[in-house]
Symmetry: C2
Subunit: 225 residues, 2 copies
DNA sequence: CCAAAAGTGTTTTGAGTACACCCATGT
DNA sequence: ACATGGGTGTACTCAAAACACTTTTGG
C-alpha cells in the first residue's frame, strides 16, 4: 500500500567537548541539493540486512572516518519538504565521543569534514539545524540522568575536565565544591595514583569512571546542577 | 540511492487507565500476515503531504475511531525481519487518553478493536510487544517529569483518581498523605466546589489541572514517588 | 614569591519519607 | 451504629545550595 517512493535515511549528530565548548561533527556537501553547505553525516538506508543503528554507524564511518562510538536513536523527522528531491524520512542519531585520536577523513559524498562549535554554526543543509537543537536538548537530559558525560571524556580525566563537560553542555557555570562533593559521593569515580601536569601550577589528580560501581548503586543518581 | 522498496509505517500505542489498570488499545488483524492476531493500530505512510504525526493520528482514527488525542513520537523500529512482507520501518507513537466517551469502531483492515490490560496481553503481531514495553517505560518517565497524568484523566477528577493513575503506571502503591501533600503544594491543582459521590461513604472533592499554574512554576516539579 | 589552578568544610534550608487516626456519608 | 473510602499533621533524615580560603606546583 503506497509508500514506494518514500526514502529512509539516517543522520547522526556527533558531539564532543573541546576546550570547554560543545562541538558537532559536520560534513560539507559535494553535491546538490544544498551543495557546499554543511550537513550532518548520514545517508540513505540501503536495503541490506543492517539495522537502523548499523546504518547510522556505517554512514558515520564512511563520511567522516569516525568509528567505534556510542550511538543512540534520537527522533525521526519526516515532514514533507525537508528534502527537495522528494519525501524522505530521516531517523536521527546521537553520538557522544572524544576528539582525541580521531583522524577525520571526508567520504566520497563530502568536500570536507570538521568540528563546529554548536554556538557558532554555519548555515546548514535540510532541517539539520533543528536536528542539532533536538540533540542538544537530549544531551542535557542524558548528562543529568545517566553517566553520559564519560563518553565525552578520555579514559583518565581530572575532576575539572568532568566539570567542564557539564558546563559546556548545560551552558552554565557550576560550583566546584558542590560538584566534586556530589560526584565523589556517588562512588562512581575511581581515584588513580596519577596526576596530570598541565602547566606551572598544581597538578590535578586523575580519575576513571567505574561502570561496575555505577551499576551497583541502589538508585540512579541525579547529576543535576 | 537505494531505499526504493523500504516501506514506512506508523503505529500507535494508545494507553488509558481503567479501574486502576493500565490498558492499551489494540485491533484484531483481518488480513495476513499475522491474521487474527492483535496488533497496534497503524499503517503505511501514504505519500500525501501529511507529517508523521498526522499519519499516526489518521491511522488511529481510521482503525479505531478514536480521535482528538495527545500523541508523541516514541521510537523508530526498523530491523530487518520485523515484517515478513519486506523491509518496513515503523515510527511508533504514544497516545495518552481517557476511555470515557469513546466509541470504538473497527476500521476496514480490522476485525475488532478493544482495550487490553497491559499485564494481560494476548499474542501480538510483528514486534508490537516490544513497542508496547517501550511505551510503558516512556509513560513512567513522563508521569514523573511532566503533567502527563492529566491526559489520562477526565476534566474533573478526585485526588484518588490521580493517585490511581500513578499507581497503575508505576506499578506500585504510594502513600496517600505524601502524594496529596506533594501535588497540592505544586499548585497545579485547582480545587472545585464540587464533589463526586461514588457510594455510601464520604464524597471526594473534585479538582482540575491548571496548565497556567503549571507553566508559571519556576522549576518543573518532579512527581516522583 | 608570584601566578595559576587544585583542592577542601560548614551551615542552612527545604524536600522526601515514614507513619495512624478521625471525618463524612449512605444504609 | 457501622462500613467505606476521604482526608489530615508531625517528626526525622538527608541532600542541595550557598559561600571563600589554603595548597601545590613551575617559573
Amino acid at each position: 500500500m503506497a509508500g514506494e517512493s518514500i526514502k529512509v535515511a539516517v543522520d547522526t549528530v556527533a558531539l564532543a567537548v573541546e576546550q570547554g565548548a560543545l562541538e558537532v561533527l559536520l560534513v560539507k556537501r559535494k553535491f546538490e541539493p544544498f551543495k557546499s553547505l554543511w550537513a550532518l553525516p548520514g545517508g540513505s538506508l540501503t536495503e541490506s540486512d543492517e539495522t537502523l543503528d548499523q546504518a547510522a554507524t556505517r554512514e558515520l564511518l564512511e563520511e567522516t572516518n569516525v568509528g567505534d562510538v556510542y550511538l543512540e536513536q534520537l527522533y525521526t523527522f519526516g515532514d514533507k519538504g525537508r528534502d527537495p528531491r522528494g519525501r524522505t524520512v530521516t531517523v536521527s542519531y546521537l553520538a557522544l565521543l572524544r576528539q582525541e585520536g580521531l583522524e577525520l577523513k571526508a567520504g566520497s559524498k563530502a568536500r570536507g569534514v570538521a568540528w563546529w562549535k554548536v554556538n557558532e554554526l554555519p548555515e546548514l543543509a535540510f532541517d539539520h539545524a533543528s536536528i542539532i537543537s533536538y540533540a542538544r536538548q537530549r544531551v542535557k537530559y542524558k548528562l543529568e540522568y545517566s553517566p553520559a558525560a564519560f563518553m565525552l571524556l578520555p579514559e583518565k580525566f581530572t575532576l575539572r575536565d568532568l566539570q567542564s563537560v557539564y558546563e559546556a553542555v548545560l551552558g552554565k557555570a557550576v560550583d566546584n565544591r558542590n560538584f566534586r562533593k556530589k560526584f565523589l559521593n556517588t562512588g562512581v569515580l575511581q581515584e588513580l595514583n596519577e596526576t596530570s601536569q598541565e602547566g606551572s601550577f598544581r597538578p590535578a589528580r586523575l580519575y576513571t569512571f567505574s561502570l561496575e560501581e555505577f551499576e551497583k548503586l541502589p538508585d540512579r543518581p541525579v547529576f543535576m546542577f
